[in-house]
């Protein structure tokens, strides 16, 4: 068995505003800037990712929603112009990406072995969702690392949050197995916003930061509470609170990426590094990193992750 491993996980939210604020050549609309603290947070994350030298980036996005199972991008080369249906004024981005199809297939197979409905997306004309593209641009604008793109099954919405997140736990474990067996050095990207209460109207100048603030004070307090726990490495407590957080802060982590990532990493009780926090049209966004190499849980000094980190221990608390 090849010994691949997850070297890090990032909470990597996808407001298209961040791409718009940066003005990369790929994006048609041009801005005067905006959301700098969050973009600087991504700058630090980019530097860290660069040092990690992963073979592949795996991203789970809430904006590719599937009803029958979990789907994986399965076409080697995908390209096109991605226009955000909600913010077409901000995000019209020309992209080209390479998919690690072999790893995607392994993830799909492992998920199926664990009883999930899983399938490959083989249509070359497929339109990659804007969540996937924004997260990938923000973390690696060079687009020189192959990716695995995973859809969000709508189970947390169609069933219950708990049932949905249970599936994401299984998907995370399957993802880990696939990474290990294919020998990849992998980074996981959970493309999720935290508190998702947002404004209902956009300022005339979207990047006018005098207008940017949390939409909800309660939501903001929830974000700070969760981030503080994550910074302290109190992962078990975070997952105990997660369903309540989702309900009360309308948190986008409901779509499952965050649970998937932590399940894949084995729920390490590891302090996350906060690269930055900021609001975008009122929603709360944190860029955070769990570097398993620095923590001695991966890489040369690898040690098996704490068994106490297994989510089974928390499953009871979540119900």
């Amino acid at each position: 068995m090849a010994n691949g491993e997850i070297v890090a996980g990032f909470l990597a939210p996808h407001p298209p505003h961040l791409v718009y604020g940066e003005n990369p050549p790929q994006n048609e609309p041009k801005s005067e800037g905006g959301w700098e603290p969050l973009r600087w947070a991504y700058e630090r994350a980019r530097k860290s990712l660069d040092e990690l030298q992963p073979d592949v980036l795996l991203v789970h996005s809430p904006h590719w929603i599937t009803q029958v199972g979990h789907h994986f991008l399965g076409v080697r080369h995908l390209s096109g112009k991605s226009v955000d249906p909600i913010f077409p004024n901000l995000f019209r981005y020309t992209f080209e990406l390479e998919v690690d199809v072999e790893l995607a297939e392994a993830c799909c197979e492992k998920a199926a072995q664990r009883g999930l409905t899983a399938m490959m997306m083989r249509n070359p004309k497929f339109r990659v969702d804007y969540g996937t593209i924004t997260t990938l641009h923000m973390i690696r604008p060079q687009w020189d690392i192959p990716i695995v793109g995973i859809s969000a099954n709508n189970s947390p919405y169609y069933l219950t949050t708990e049932e949905g997140l249970d599936e994401m736990d299984t998907l995370g474990k399957a993802t880990r197995e696939a990474i290990e067996e294919t020998g990849r050095r992998a980074v996981l990207l959970a493309s999720n916003t935290l508190c998702h209460w947002h404004f209902h109207e956009e300022p005339d100048t979207p990047e006018d930061m005098s207008r940017e603030h949390p939409q909800s004070y309660d939501g903001y307090k929830w974000d700070m509470r969760m981030i503080e726990l994550l910074r302290q490495g109190k992962t078990a407590e975070v997952f105990r609170l997660l369903p309540q957080f989702i309900d009360e802060a309308f948190a986008e982590v409901k779509s499952g990426a965050f649970t998937w990532m932590f399940a894949a990493m084995g729920y390490p009780e590891l302090p996350g590094e906060l690269h930055g926090y900021g609001t975008v049209i009122g929603t709360g966004n944190a860029v955070m990193e769990w570097n398993l190499v620095k923590a001695g849980l991966a890489g040369a000094a690898a040690a098996p992750p704490s068994a106490a980190g297994d989510r089974a221990a928390y499953a009871g608390a979540m119900r």
């Binding site: 599937t66 029958v68 199972g69 249906p85 909600i86 077409p88 997306m121 189970s155 169609y158 209902h200």
Partner: protein, 270 residues
Amino acid sequence: MTAVSAFLVPGSPLHLLRPDNPPWRPIVAGFERAARALAMSRPDAVLLYSTQWIAVLDALWQARPRLTGAHVDENWHDYGDMAFDIRVDTDLAEACVNAVKAAGISSKSVDYDQFPIDSGTIVATRLLDPDGRFPLVMAANNLYHDAATTMRMAEIATATARAQNKKVAVVGVGGLSGTVFREPIAIEEDRIAAEEDDTWNRRILRLLEKGETGRLDAEVENYAREARVDMGFKHFAWIRGAIGGRIFGARVHGYGPAHGAGAAVIEFRL
């Protein structure tokens, strides 16, 4: 005069992409009958609302004169892509934006190359107007709009068309009951996934056929909740808004499943 014709149709790609699958035939045949009725009503434009075009900030209206391309559905990508070539009545669309805005509903037009056109809009236009004879005015489903706001928007859009001396057809694109099969099925055995959903769908279809506005008013909300109707049945609110609120009866041209969910092609009597 309100609209010259009015239809509620499903927006599942399955009926367009696998029209010969036996359980999907009734819907496809229903679309064929509805397409003939639409053509006979000779509208100047079609006011179309698809539950799958989702907005959250404003009421969005498509204002690009021509939209072409091939769309791959995010769920049913293995069934192939759906080519589309849609013309938009931009004068009417822009007038709708202004009129809806004037009524206090924040409203915007979108006019962008490669703007993602939703599957429902493509399915409905391909099957209702295969030759692309009628230009569209397309409004998005803002998730924060309730049925009353949706009705109001359609009412305003119809009045705006009248002010431009245009005859309009109205189309609401969306499903009926929402319980679905969450695993792959043998598609030739597709059926409405839950018996209670089937009962609910048939009951509502009967009320529509008989034009029982009062009973529909009393039941639609329960139906939407208990049968998990696609987007709370707001596509029906859109039609009601355009035809003046009252239901004078309807013809159900087809009823059947879409991977467990309920689907129907309905033509409203005007």
